[in-house]
Chain length 339, copies 2
């Protein structure tokens, strides 16, 4: 297998820096790496495989010779620069929402629909982080127990809104404990020891943009365009890892032992379902881990064809950087990028 | 109206101290107040209406002459001592789970089923704090839109597990921020910047005791013994006030404006539903407040007969102490305790 010329757009951000780390840790075959960011970061260096890589300013001309470009600096940046990267011949793996719902852009979680990558026209999108945790938790089940409806409530970490938002939680919490005024920059509402409805724009139907992404992207990833989904997205005072409470309705009674076995056999999923020790998925146990944790499996008392479950996953890794690198690995491993 | 001889069992605890504060603030007609606690606290004093009341050790003989006794020191204490208080002629208002599901014990939220108080046989129970927030949020709706099913996920504050648990959150958070080992006494799992499935015993069906209470008590309060309810209870790193994400299924399409009006007219409820400013119920805005906040009203995208909503309420006040004092006010105001 040969090595590739790779670029990371938004290399200094929460997702970008994790992408660089994942490329390193997973021994991605790299000939050259270009770290691209705004002019502010240009000239600084980031370590990669034992040497310091100088961060370059992102420009339309940045992608010459680049074969794989990871975008993770916001959908505005993707919309502005992805076309230039495509024109330069790179495969774009976009972690923003910019292109996810376009018909000719595959929206991929390799464990679920990796085969979709082959139909790319220059761009493959990596899904919204809540949609990743949700679909990873239910995909192993729905082949056996057809899904009729989902009701989901999320518990989302601050780092999902970027590194600055995670720092705001820590700084606000420090100030709160010291009885000092709370610093506010990212979130409109206090996040220290508080929670609030997700900080994304709200549509006329009352759902916010995050909820809309979860609904639309889950349907697209699972190839279930009509799947009824109700979802409530909530920001909680947690640094890292998103959790979801899932009510899963099938068209038949669900055998929990079978579900446990299906989840246990699934790649990228770890069952944490210890009733005796009251040990179930928790953010701190999946932070900086690859696997999505799934547990609290039980038969829905309100519906004989339903089950309830709870999942936690690192939204910066499987929810973003790890999933993007796995898409690249799949593309390379399956000859989708010319070898 | 005459004054009454009142006792508060567990006066030094999270719920008990709030009960004393509520009795004071709401000008409850008190002739004498007895503050009862374990031997550890006996001899200490608590201020009440300008004088220091000496805390007495709770004994079987503590209730002589007492007309209203608030119990809030755990269900074990209620089971051990309530019968003695009943025998002494007191009306017991019990905030623990000890007697809630007994057929001849009314389980009361005055705004919903205050008339039940009259059938007491010495004990009236105040419901589980999550059940209070949930039923307060949905009761105004269900008279107009019959309820078929509920799917609920909770976001529960640490003080719901007692004052010591709330301190543990603060102390753990301080230690976390200082990079020191986390103190652990109350919760099995880390609570600082983490969340976990509710810390109550788990039954064979996979539901925990807290979830079971929410299901059974909601049915009893609403006089809907068969109401299908799916519920997931989660502890989050918040000091005070519980929140619930509610999926409400009716048997007909629901008019949101009408629901908003019904909630707006309901006693004890405040609508916080400002889509333009992304302002919805939050724990910090209902802490130490009487009202349960309800908002995020929207038509369920997965069910034409469903709505989704979000509610937050102070579980120590409306979820416990305030509701108990309101029960006493109702009993006094309606001649249920002899005048």
């Amino acid at each position: 297998m040969r090595d590739y010329n790779v670029a990371v757009v938004g290399a200094t951000g929460a997702v970008g820096s994790e992408t660089v780390r994942m490329l390193d840790m997973r021994n991605f075959p790299i000939r050259s790496i270009k770290l691209l960011a705004s002019g502010r970061s240009a000239g600084k260096t980031m370590p990669f495989r034992g040497r310091d890589v100088v961060i370059e300013e992102l420009k339309e001309t940045s992608f010459e010779g680049v074969e794989i470009a990871f975008f993770g600096a916001g959908s505005g940046v993707s919309k502005q620069f992805a076309a230039h990267a495509v024109k330069a011949g790179a495969l774009i793996i976009d972690k923003t929402s910019a292109f996810r719902m376009l018909a000719d852009v595959p929206l991929v979680i390799p464990e679920i629909n990796g085969t979709e990558i082959a139909r790319h026209k220059g761009i493959v999108s990596s899904p919204n982080c809540v949609a990743v945790v949700l679909t990873m938790a239910i995909y192993p089940i729905l082949k056996r127990y057809p899904i009729k409806r989902l009701v989901v409530s999320s518990y989302q970490a601050t780092s999902g809104a970027g590194a600055k938002a995670a720092r705001e939680l820590l700084n606000q919490t420090k100030a709160f404990l010291a009885g000092e005024p709370l610093p506010r920059e990212v979130f409109k509402h206090q996040i220290a020891f508080n929670l609030f409805s997700h900080d994304s724009p709200i549509y006329d139907n009352g759902y916010n943009d995050e909820e809309n992404k979860v609904i639309e992207e889950t349907r697209k990833i699972l190839s279930l365009p009509e799947l009824p989904i109700a979802v409530t997205c909530v920001r909680v005072p947690i640094v890292r890892a998103h959790s979801v409470s899932i009510n899963y309705e099938s068209d038949r009674p669900v055998d929990l032992d079978e579900v446990r076995a299906l989840l246990g056999a699934a790649n990228g999923v770890k069952v944490v379902d210890d009733r005796v020790n009251n040990h179930f998925p928790m953010p701190i146990e999946c932070s900086e881990k690859d696997e999505v944790l799934v547990g609290r499996l039980r038969t829905d008392l309100s519906n004989p064809n339903g089950i309830e479950l709870f999942a936690s996953g690192d939204q910066l890794l499987k929810g973003a950087a790890l999933n993007a690198v796995q898409i690249a690995e799949y593309a390379v491993g399956n000859g989708i990028i010319k070898g």
